[in-house]
């Protein structure tokens, strides 16, 4: 099992956040250092959501993208971060937690993206769903076509985590 690591360094929010993803489906916070002014400790290893870190299984027509998956339980609670504007749109990140464990990270709102999904028949585009890709034993070295603007994602995620920890 390969382990993907999502780490976000958002100097805007003074946060060093490292999310470790395990393929069993659970995401747990390995390290959250939200102290003011801690900033980034190692610029060379800063990571943010990039191609390949999007690990969800949501393949429906919804624009929401669920990142990790785990069986939901009655103790799960979902917190939605602030709607953060970035250069080309807005982004809103939601986290679902079970105790101190993050169950899912999703993006229910992304204005730069959603208008197109409503007008386009996405079924017409050939789709290689990641499960299908994995089932064929095909792994990608790299992915072309980018995802979210990192700062906006980190900012909204942090505000969701702040709510969850209150």
């Amino acid at each position: 099992m390969r382990r993907a690591v999502i780490a976000t360094a958002g100097t805007v929010v003074g946060l060093v956040l490292l999310l470790g993803y395990r393929s069993e489906g659970a995401v747990k916070v390995d390290k959250v250092d939200a102290g003011a002014g801690t900033g980034s400790t190692n610029p060379g290893t800063n990571t943010t959501l990039g191609p390949g870190t999007n690990t969800g299984t949501n393949t429906g027509s919804s624009t929401a993208t669920t990142v990790p998956t785990a069986a939901s339980s009655s103790s799960d609670r979902t917190y939605t971060g602030q709607d953060v504007s970035y250069r080309y749109g807005d982004i809103e990140v939601a986290v679902t937690v079970d105790g101190s464990r993050i169950v899912t990270v999703s993006v229910p709102q992304d204005d730069a993206f959603s208008p197109y999904s409503q007008t386009v028949n996405s079924a017409a585009v050939p789709i290689l769903v990641r499960e299908a890709v994995a089932a064929q034993g095909l792994n990608f070295d790299v992915v072309s076509g980018a995802t979210y603007t990192s700062d906006a994602f980190a900012q909204s995620l942090q505000s969701a985590l702040d709510k969850a920890s209150q």
């Binding site: 099992m1 390969r2 993907a4 780490a7 360094a9 393929s23 610029p43 060379g44 290893t45 800063n46 990571t47 943010t48 959501l49 990039g50 191609p51 390949g52 999007n54 690990t55 969800g56 949501n58 393949t59 993208t65 250069r87 080309y88 749109g89 993006v107 730069a112 993206f113 197109y116 999904s117 007008t119 386009v120 028949n121 996405s122 079924a123 017409a124 585009v125 050939p126 789709i127 290689l128 769903v129 990641r130 499960e131 299908a132 890709v133 994995a134 064929q136 034993g137 095909l138 792994n139 990608f140 070295d141 790299v142 992915v143 072309s144 076509g145 980018a146 995802t147 603007t149 990192s150």
Partner: protein, 268 residues
């Protein structure tokens, strides 16, 4: 469940750098001492930050903005800025005017700078004895050497409408893959003739021998809209996939060939 990341047998050193408003990921596959890899990646990272400082249109006193405001004549600019200006002219001509660094009314060479700076970073790694690597500049990728074990690179093309899905899987021996689309940055490509954001296409992916051209051609084709397929068909050494507003995909024969090298089926 296996993640479609890293490729089979991938054992590379992966490093991420936040720069130029995006994330650049280095994935070095050449087996080498850690100190050698660290030094090479530090050098490439310094280069990218220098490029950001020099070419950022978001930093009022960057050299590119001083040049744009007429405060700095071209002959007083650094050699790199002269080179980028020359590339902007070159690709403006090569794309029939659809790649236009002046489309916004100001000189904004961002559409060239990312591909050009990643190309140079790839060269720095090669010079440092690390010929096998991939650099991902926010979804525009440069592949050098081999990923290992003699196989080709496997490149996914993210589906423009479904973030967890792919619309193409390519098998390439090297070169570059660039994607221009509304899903990454909203309506960010200006049609230089209408001066309006380009909205006719959903995404354009271009595969070629190097990233500067692949990136510029993807941007230009995106601005062209419905005329893009006929234009892309005439390009030599570059192959392309176009996703139209109706969600229909179109690709050059060469692009199909790069796909058919992989054992892929498309469900549905």
């Amino acid at each position: 469940m296996t993640l479609p990341l890293g490729g089979p047998g991938a054992t590379g050193v992966v490093r991420h750098v936040e720069v130029m408003g995006t994330v650049v990921t280095f994935d070095v596959r050449t087996p080498a001492p850690q100190v050698q890899v660290d030094a090479a990646l530090a050098s490439a990272t310094r280069w990218l930050h220098w490029v950001d400082d020099t070419f950022s249109t978001y930093k009022p006193n960057s050299e590119v903005n001083r040049f744009d405001r007429g405060e700095l004549p071209i002959d007083e600019c650094c050699e790199e800025l002269k080179k980028v200006v020359a590339l902007c002219y070159k690709f403006n001509v090569a794309t029939g005017g659809f790649f236009d660094a002046w489309a916004s009314g100001h000189f904004d060479p961002s559409g060239i700078v990312k591909g050009w700076s990643v190309e140079h970073a790839s060269g720095l790694l090669q010079q440092a004895g690390l010929p096998d690597h991939v650099i991902d500049g926010g979804g525009d990728v440069r592949l050098s050497g081999a990923p290992g074990t003699g196989r080709p690179w496997h490149v996914g093309v993210r589906h423009p409408l479904q973030r967890d899905a792919y619309c193409a899987a390519l098998s390439v021996m090297g070169g570059a893959v660039a994607t221009s689309g509304t899903y990454e940055r909203g309506l960010h490509v200006i049609n230089p003739f209408s001066r309006e954001p380009a909205t006719e296409l959903i995404a354009v992916t271009v595969v070629g021998p190097e990233l500067i051209g692949a990136d510029a051609y993807a941007t230009a084709a995106f601005a062209m809209g419905a005329a893009a397929p006929a234009w892309l068909e005439r390009l030599v050494a570059y192959e392309a996939l176009v996703i139209g507003p109706d969600g229909q995909g179109w690709s050059t024969q060469g692009f199909k060939d790069l796909q058919s090298a992989l054992p892929v089926t498309t469900p549905g």
